[in-house]
Amino acid sequence: MLRFILRRCILVLPSLAGLLLITFLLIHSVPSDPAVAMAGDAGTPEQIARLRAQYGLDRPIWEQFFVYVGKAVTFDFGESVFSRRPVATDILQRLPATLELTFASLMISILLGVPLGVVSALNHNTWPDYILRVFSVLGIAVAAFWFAIMLQLFFAMDLGWLPLRGDLTSTMARPPRVTGFLSLDALLAGRWDVYLDHLRHLVLPAVTLSLGGLATIVRFTRAGVLDTLQQDFVFYERAMGYRWLRLVWVFILRNSVTATVTQIGLLFGGLIAGAVVVEAIFDWPGIGSYTVQAILTGDKQVMLAVTLLVGTVYAVVNILVDVVHGLLDPRLMEQG
């Protein structure tokens, strides 16, 4: 098991290096000049030239790349030329919020999506199946930003049940920062009020973000269960008098979710991208809005670091997916 994980980790490194190279070249061929932006609206040409030299922006691109890689391996992703803060610090500050959001939405997707997928498969080609399929596809098809605004109008404005935006009521004092995850920090500080308030803020963005994943999970679970239902062992287990609920939710399900788990891994990359829009609309202080800001201002250091980060998260999640596959199906583990 450990060897299996280690091997996967080592295999990931060249991929990340490739990712970094491609992104670096791509981003550095963008013509926008950070020095101009740094000098600000009232900048003069002399100011700009000075800044360019100061930040090594006048060096050849290869030199810039190797300098960057040399630092990146020590988790130094440089300074954002705009905010003047170390990029690593900024990202660490914001990543927990995004992880909270994506985790919550993934939970919603899984907890709803898997049962719905199973129900859909058990009712294969009957009306419940049709209805579930159309609804799950609606989840993929609806434009998240439109849906988000509708949720805001209904739940935050008309009903006033849930907060409109942000991650905490403005007047509430934040607990001391320990883990960076506001929910955990609130619990560590024994601040139940903050914890509950935070969860209330989490609902609408998480629901919005969960839509696409929900549909994907329904659809792959459905296909997986349909596939499993064809297997001889299902008949055998019924003939052996297994209780129906346990047969479906334990013995069939475990055989059916392999593809779903793979999809959850792939979803994760998409979730972080989806967070860009959702975070902007709900003013969620995560990595998504930070990325958009960086792109809009042409902050190349941040764009690079974010790409690398998302790539890494993607790789880690996919290693986890392999591990889960192994846990679900002992045959895979033996093949290593």
Partner: protein, 535 residues
């Protein structure tokens, strides 16, 4: 499977939310923050908190609340009034300026402010050479800022520069005793100050309540040197909660979870806010002009008739009245019409497609390539610039000119504007008030020595205009400068290098509990010390 499970479980699981849609705009529940002493603003935050690194509209909120400056613009129209300084003197040649500090000013850490701290602040600005340094870099060397005595600062300029005094309020005075312990490799503490405060202002930055671009908390500085006598019930805490989306910002104002928006409220939202029980829109004239630039080096824009053709093809009043809901004033000059130096006799260009056609014919006769496809670059994230361009596009199409609207972003546009070859045919932007002086507009937009900066991206060159602008810049007395600018502007307008459209009106949404706000075009009303929250 003969067994069918869960038909009944299928029901209305997903149904609820989607149906809600358009029905949802009925009564709005308000979720008033219970705290009557916290002022919550949805206005944007600057990219970092260091007033010597950033100088833009969001930074005004930091500069005016957390920091103090020697002089400050107050009131509407703006007057420059003594703030940290009690008074100043200037030598006749306009080179030596001395500022006398008020006594008893204390920084947030309790240490008293001296002339040395002012010297430190200016030297820091010059060393960092970032945005706010622009006005000073050419005329002021760091060693020429000195403390004559603990209460007196002296500046010796390299050359006479009239806008010097107008730019003095753009420099915040910082506390070296707070900064220096946190400085790394003589970086003037710029990493540290990017997320902390080191000022003397009416409010203190709470570093733990800050996440870049997301939120910022400030609390009242009871010991501010101005005292609180003029506002017995001030706001105790300022909570910046920027809203990134215009729709979210509006909703937050309407449900009472913020006390104000930023000053870029779209005109189309005004009616809706004023109709609500809880909020209203404050309208203020500002000095912020809206311009369509033409690249005068690219044919046919090197042809004056071609430029005039374009100038007559823009539907100024349609844009202002119908799209902006009348919340702007037509400004035919290359400068805000409420600033001194305007030649009131000069006539601008009006929307007249007949004239435009005539100039079109003239330009074609002179060999100008009017038939080629033109591009206008806009800031995609800014709805107004996009709409203006689209309106222009529709009108030009009527006189047979093809215009393509190209979306872009500010940093790309300013980078492109650095060279005449990469500068687009046309692009759209505003010129805000960095300091209240004609230099901020015509001086930097049409003096050819500024070619290469975005402000001068028309690449207009007229030696007579250059001479007039340079003379005005080196003259100290306003009454002597005024005719020079009027003359220059007449000449510039005759050449029609750009299309000047309007001077803005700032629209800012407020909760009705906000009282006592004071507005000044510089800083755009970001100063919170006057505000009281009614219960």
């Amino acid at each position: 499977m003969s067994r069918v499970l869960g038909r009944r479980q299928v029901g209305g699981l997903a149904a609820g939310a989607l149906v809600a849609g358009p029905l949802a705009i009925g009564s709005v529940r308000t979720v008033r923050a219970a705290d009557a002493s916290t002022f919550i603003t949805a206005a944007g935050l600057p990219i970092n908190l260091d007033p010597h690194q950033v100088y833009d509209v969001p930074m005004q909120g930091i500069m005016l609340n957390a920091y103090d400056n020697l002089y400050r613009y107050q009131n509407d129209p703006p007057q420059i009034v003594p703030w940290l300084a009690a008074s100043h003197t200037v030598s006749d040649d306009g080179l030596t300026w001395e500022f006398k500090l008020k006594p008893g000013v204390k920084f947030h850490d309790g240490s008293p402010m001296t002339a040395e701290d002012v010297v430190y602040s200016f030297r820091r600005v010059l060393a960092l050479a970032l945005a706010p340094a622009g006005a000073f870099l050419k005329i002021l060397k760091p060693e020429n800022v000195t403390a004559v005595d603990p209460q007196t600062v002296r500046f010796k300029l390299d050359a006479a520069y009239a806008p010097f005094f107008a730019a003095i309020p753009s420099i915040s005075i910082v506390n070296p005793r707070a900064i220096e312990p946190n400085a790394k490799n003589s970086d003037w503490g710029k990493s540290w100050l990017a997320s902390n405060g080191a000022g003397s202002g009416a409010y203190k930055i709470i570093p733990t309540g800050y996440r870049p671009l997301e939120y910022l908390d400030m609390e009242i500085n009871e010991g501010h040197f101005m005292g609180w006598g003029d506002n017995p019930k001030p706001v105790k805490k300022i909570a910046y909660r920027p809203a990134k989306e215009s729709s979210t910002r509006l909703l937050a104002l309407l449900n009472g979870s913020v006390d104000c928006t930023d000053g870029n409220m779209p005109a189309d939202q005004v009616e809706q806010i004023n109709a609500s029980k809880i909020a209203f829109v404050q309208k203020d004239s500002v000095m912020k002009t809206f311009v369509i630039r033409m690249n005068n080096t690219k044919p046919p824009f090197d042809n004056i008739n071609a430029r005039k053709c374009f100038a007559h093809a823009f539907n100024y009043m349609g844009f202002i009245n119908d799209i902006l809901g009348g919340y702007a004033t037509r400004d035919p000059y290359p400068m805000p019409d409420n600033l001194w130096g305007i030649p009131k006799d000069a006539k601008g260009y009006d929307y007249d497609l007949k004239k435009a056609k005539e100039y079109y014919a003239k330009a074609v006769a002179e060999g100008a390539p009017m038939k080629r496809a033109f591009e206008i670059h806009v800031q995609s994230e800014n709805e107004q610039s996009v709409q203006g361009a689209q309106l222009f596009q529709a009108d030009l199409a009527q006189i047979g000119i093809t215009l393509k609207v190209v979306g872009s972003i500010w940093s790309t546009l300013t980078a492109a504007a650095a060279k005449p070859e990469t500068t687009p045919d046309m692009w759209v932007h505003w010129v805000s008030t960095y300091f209240v002086d004609p230099e901020n507009w015509v001086g930097q937009m049409y003096d050819s020595q500024f070619h290469g900066t975005w402000k001068a991206s028309a690449y207009y060159k007229n030696p007579e205009v250059d001479a007039l602008l340079r003379k005005a810049r080196a003259t100290v007395k306003q009454e002597e400068r005024e005719p020079l600018y009027q003359d220059a502007i007449r000449k510039i307008m005759a050449d029609s290098p750009d299309i000047w459209i309007y001077n803005s009106m700032q629209l800012q949404g407020f909760n009705k509990r906000v009282k006592g706000r004071r507005f000044c075009t510089v800083g755009q009303g970001a100063e919170v010390r006057w505000i009281t929250l009614a219960s």
